[in-house]
């Protein structure tokens, strides 16, 4: 028999490259629940979020914008239903919209300088990104950009339907979030963005 290996159709094709070898290995990370590596987060129900939203609105009416922002940033919904998470995002967006542009930087600076302030701004950044994702209009199903999965990046103006009245609203919301984003980066630095991306606690 020849020592030259026999080439078969199977060995010549590169289908073997797509075999997921991690799935075949017993103690691979694929076969392991990585969430057990981290301390569990307490679950927050939608009712709690609504209650908090009420208090925050009261503070806003009283003119205490710092208290309102702090109040909602101190209770991020890491573990909860989608409805609870969305409700909390809505509360935060409301607070962000009600704060004047000239007040943003001093407000962020006082929060950052206080104990645990860095963490609060990280939470704020998470919600800003979430808001940007949520504010993007859903892409038309089976849209023109074939082969490309539309990602809700918040900047996808292409393939998002006709530019119309709906988009203007979204644009206004986005510009508020973008200016907040700029101010937060000014105060908390690029490290803040890195932390949001590295963090396993999603809002």
């Amino acid at each position: 028999m020849s020592i030259i290996p026999q080439h078969t159709a199977a060995s010549l094709s590169d289908a073997w490259r797509t075999i997921n070898i991690d799935a075949l290995e017993e103690d691979s990370p694929l076969n392991f629940d990585t969430s057990t590596l981290r301390p569990p987060q307490s679950e927050i129900s939608e009712a709690d979020v609504r209650g908090l939203a009420g208090q925050v609105r009261q503070l806003l009416r009283g003119g205490d914008t710092e208290g309102a922002l702090r109040g909602c940033l101190e209770f991020p919904v890491y573990n909860g239903t989608d409805a609870a998470k969305d409700a909390h995002l809505q509360t935060i967006t409301e607070v962000l919209h009600s704060i004047k542009a000239s007040e943003m930087t001093p407000l962020l600076q006082t929060i950052y300088a206080s104990a645990g302030g860095s963490e609060l701004l990280d939470v704020l950044m998470k919600y800003i990104y979430k808001g940007m994702g949520a504010a993007a209009p859903p892409a038309r199903p089976g849209g023109s950009s074939a082969g490309v999965t539309p990602q809700p990046t918040g900047f996808s103006q292409i393939g998002a339907g006709r530019p119309g009245a709906g988009n203007e609203n979204v644009g206004a919301a986005m510009s508020v979030l973008l200016s907040w984003h700029e101010k937060v980066v000014d105060v908390a630095g690029l490290g803040c963005i890195g932390r949001v991306m590295a963090d396993w606690r999603r809002v």
């Binding site: 392991f32 590596l37 981290r38 860095s118 690029l190 890195g194 932390r195 590295a198 963090d199 396993w200």
Partner: protein, 363 residues
Amino acid sequence: MASPEIHHLFHNPIADHSFSADRTTVAVARDSTIELYGKVGNAFKLKDELKGHDKLVTSVDIAPNSGRIVTCSQDRNALVWEPSPTGYKPTLVLLRITRAATFVRWSPNETKFAVGSGDRLIAICYFEEENDWWVSKHLKKPIRSTITSVAWHPNSVLLAAGSTDAHARVFSSFIKGTDARPEPTLWGERLPFNTVCGEYLNNSAGWVHSVAFSPSGDALAFAAHDSSVTVVYPGGPEQPPRAVLTITAQLLPFMSLLWSAEDEIIAAGYDCEAFRFKGGEGGWQLAGSLEAKGRPGLGEAREESALNMFRQMDLRGKAKDDTQLKTVHQNTITTIRPFETSGDRVTKFTSTGVDGRLVIWAT
């Protein structure tokens, strides 16, 4: 503060570097070779090349007393290079790993070394006299992901490891026959092999890039991908830690850190400059950069002629050449290491980075 000594070795990333004890030779990991540079006058000149790995060399370490060099590579091997009159002789180490070796360091007493790997384990290697061979024992549990860095405790038994599963852990690497029974420390009293003496995670749980024990060995610091440095003060055997302090920075993540004294940590990374942290058990804070701002002869100090300015505007559409960073390193710093110590303080340290520069800093 003396200005840093800058040596631009080549235009390739430097994965790791290590100085010999007399500080005249430096081993630098470049692609799949290790280059040895010797000090000639004020510059470093290429002296020798160690070829033996066939993939990227990820880490290199010179034992200060014996002069042996250990290297590890993505080809899953580690080599020990024994100095001899005719050059360095490599010996293969049986690592028994199936993924890349990522990090290697000699223990302070130089009888063992630890190799971190992508195989979710650390190989503790020691010399077996009867077989005339370096063999390894595996630290496996409870590591769940690639080991990015390891650091030895001064007693040569305890080993800290940082991992991409976001944990910094302290293990015992006690090998019967090689190690003498260690004195009890704050980390533990009885220390059979693979005892987990501590397992730490910071709040946002980023990858751990670098770990280091304090000079006394009684505290552990680790830098993670969430731009933070966390310092752990153990509370004694089987006790929760006395203090876990996290400093979150406004900067990009740190790739490497070292303790320059019991109350000072130096960290460097993606910001291309080194930063100083000061503090103690009561709290730590960022004390600023080690970079001397506004050094002459760089960037803005250069006078431009009008002709040159218009030529730049014509060619590049801008008047100023802003391709240079204001820092000494022009790219990420990957490794910093102590260079000179006096008493228990590190007075000089070295850094290498992706830009191929080797810089000697005064602290």
